[in-house]
Amino acid sequence: MIALALPAQDSGSFTPPGIDEMHLPAILPWGAHDGFSKQMLLVILSVVIIATFFILAARKQQLVPGKLQFAGEMAYGFVRNSIAKDIIGGKDFIKYVPLLFSLFFFILVNNIYGAIPVIQLPSFSHVGGAYVLAGIVYFTWIIIGIKKNGLKYFKLATVPSGVPWYILPIVVPIEIISNFLVRPVTHSLRLFATMLAGHLIVMLAGSGIEFLIMQENVLLKGTSVLVLVGAIAMYMLEALIMALQAYVFTLLTAIYIEGALHADSH
């Protein structure tokens, strides 16, 4: 925040905030850059929030649920039925519910931080977390595929059935690249980039409003209201995208797992 105020203080030209402002100072710095940052605190806090909420909601185990239990069951049932059951299906889906459930709410809470005033920082606007989650998912579905189909899985995943042999030299490299190289990258960057862009827009609007309101000219000062209106609209859109990206990430995970489980029928 202090860093944001800096460009406005030299009341000359407006310098928009960039990528570097994404990195807040460490709360407990050690070393040159590294330290215990706000991001880390928020990630830990998200684990506490999710665990506390769902344990409280699930603890009573009443047949006729109360309000809290009902809310928890709705949230759990959404991931269980709308994602795991619908995509993976069969009897196996229940095994993957914990992973999908954890992913969805972990990402959701960490994204929603960006829409909460004062906190206002989606954890995945830093790429590290997105890499980690996408990496976990990447190894998960590869291991599932190998467990289910043996090493033949790699053949099943890269050589589509029913394709004439003379097209295979083209198709197989494409499949290898798209499944094993591009997939984890897009999976992680999709989440990271949307969160980064959303956060940048909010920052940009914030600093823009600040800059305009500092102007001597009253009319120019008034234009800050327009930016504010736009910023609120963007804020709403961002809130939607935050929830949507959590859903998309989890949905893709479910699709990858399903693909690995039923590699022989694809």
């Binding site: 860093a3 215990f36 991001q39 684990v47 699930a58 185990q61 047949l63 590290g128």
Partner: protein
Amino acid sequence: MNQLIISAATEGEEATNPLVPNVWEMGVVLVGFAVLLYIVVKFIVPMFEKTFAERAEAIEGGIAKAEKAQAEASAALEEYKQQLTDARAEANRIREEARAEGAQILADLKAKAAAESARITEQAHAAIESERQAAVVSLRSEVGTLATTLAGRIVGEALTDDERAARVVDRFLADLETQNAGAAK
């Protein structure tokens, strides 16, 4: 604090590539997610699944119970209907039997009455016959005695000899009978 930020910001000017992750943050996310996953696997999912299973069981159990009650009710109804039909058939059968028995009794009584009347008639006939026989016998002897007495008186000869008298009477009667038989012819 301020100094530090500015220096950090300017220092990062060229170096900061948004795609290069902070290793410590990755570590925190990894550990945080692992802890969350552990809690979810260990506590949250089992608790929810248990509740869901119990609820499904309760609902299905209720349905099963209702179905059982329904089946029992229809079985009872079936049984009652069966019993009613049986009872009706039984009543019919008893009525038929009673009717048949009544007819039988009536027929028996009639037969008995007829037999009784026949027996009485028979007895009467027999009695009449025996009386007639007795009358004939006594008449015969009396007529004989009377005739011999009369004839003795007329003839004046004592016909007291019984043997002779009997012979005379017998001849007389035999003549009478042949005369009767001739007349009848």
